[in-house]
Amino acid sequence: MEPKTTSALLYLDAITVSFDGFKALNELSFVIEPREMRAIIGPNGAGKTTMMDVITGKTRPDSGDVFFEQGSYDLSKLDETEIAELGIGRKFQKPTVFDMHSVEDNLLLALKNDRSVRATLIWENTSSQQNRIHEILDTIRLKNMRSRVAGSLSHGQKQWLEIGMLLAQGPKLLLVDEPVAGMTDAETLQTAELLKDINRDRTVIVVEHDMAFVRELGVKVTCLHEGSVLAEGTIDQVSTNDRVVEVYLGR
């Protein structure tokens, strides 16, 4: 494998994934620069989730390259755990927090730390860990909820907790899948603010259907269709693109 020279944090080139002959991704290529926030839109079945699966190592591409950190890591050769350790965090569509753990313990489990069996067995709580957890609780607006069991949070609060868990991992790249699905308008606005906060020192990819939310983010948009890029640009450029209107917005 020749070393890749690219300035991109994430570099996808001609990724193809097929399931029983159906091409979920078809020669998909795009690049994400460091500190960028990118919104990914597209109709159902456009390959958004499969793209996330490829980046996080859940699905192996049939062909194509996925490079991380200026081409230093070939993600198609690593498994989920190794990719998570490299600094790619993923927030799932459905909030999956640990319902039986407190908000605080959810963050503790996510905190960037030695993940080995030995380290967790001899683990001791330290004040620096506590401080970091407090900071995150502040960011995600859940300070008063910290000893509550996560299962008792509202849907919106769970989404924020999940974003907090992503932050706790100190990732370089955050993949956020439909963060505002099922949220109230006020919660949606707060989530946009939260993601902008996070984007100040981290790269973020947001997959979202809610166009008002994408507009609120005010970042570069990529529209996927049938497994490849249909259009890319500002929200205004993309939403006036004829083909995008035809396959996605116009329906």
Binding site: E80, T81, G89, T96, F98, H101, R115, N144, Q169
Partner: protein, 381 residues
Amino acid sequence: MSAFPLTRLLDNASTIFLALLAAFAIAIPVLNLLVPAGSGLHVSTYLVALFGKYICYAMLALSIDLIWGYAGILSLGHGAFFALGGYAMGMYLMRQIGARGVYANPILPDFMVFLNWQELPLYWYGFNHFAYAALMIVLVPGLVAFVFGWFAFRSRVTGVYLSIITQAMTYALMLGFFRNNFGFGGNNGLTDFKDILGFNVQAEGTRNALLVVSCLALALSFLICRTIVTSKFGKVLVAIRDAEARTRFLGYRVEAYKLFVFTLSACMAGVAGALYVPQVGIINPGEFAPANSIEAVIWVAVGGRGTLTGAVLGAFVVNYAKTFFTSGWLAPYWLFVLGGLFVAVTLLLPRGIVGTFEWWHERRAEKKITALPASAPHAAE
């Protein structure tokens, strides 16, 4: 700060449990050895052995609760590890018989002489030393669990599929141990034990000592389990139980966690089996029967999974009921009672006895907090 881990380790329920266990371990031998047989307070030697057996069952239940209640691994073959530990102890006890066997062979156990074997199989070597046997009691179940778990967890076999292959494992071992040429006494198993560490296994003093040692082993196992479930490791286990894929995406090596706790649990079950064998006087392939493992899971379900103390309580309650039902005219109905109990617990008491009590207790505590709304925000700050 130094006192903190201890308070974390011993919550109220744990302290009460350990105190009760200590009282039990002292009271039973006192009532057996010091109170005269005619007195109403006297505990018969039969009961001492019976309680000793219950304690071993409780340890098995504890080992199952550690993996099922906290990591969500439902092993329906844990009786296999119990039996393997039991066989290791049985091999030691067989070697202690020496020339006192029916065939008076100083080296070969009776069943080998009966089968016309000329020399001791290699894997029986060393079992005349207690230290070696003690090592094997922990090592053999641990190793089997490690190899089994390594393949199963690495291949991400979970849920009901894992339960089924654990059943297959214990069944396969049972069939193996039933064979005479396997070298473990075939369907008769190992029995007719004479001495353990030079003491007569039948003697009152030895029986009481075995009960006390079993209680100590149970207490130690309980403390090991508490250490694990109250550590960050324990929090990871619960996370795996509730959302395995999520835990993996957080970067935890789920299979390493499962493998560690599964192997540890098997070692614990092995020690329980080893203490069981001298108290009941026999180990045979029937201990590998899948039904035994399932019964042990029922103890945990009845007591309350994920509580540790519940596993112990469940083992006592169900086995006491079993002793009660199988010793009278109700004997033919025991299996119906056991089946009914499992159905009733699943439907009416899904948290088990201890779990329901804890839940009820927490609900009451929550109500008290919500009754004082003014002070609640301060408490949270």
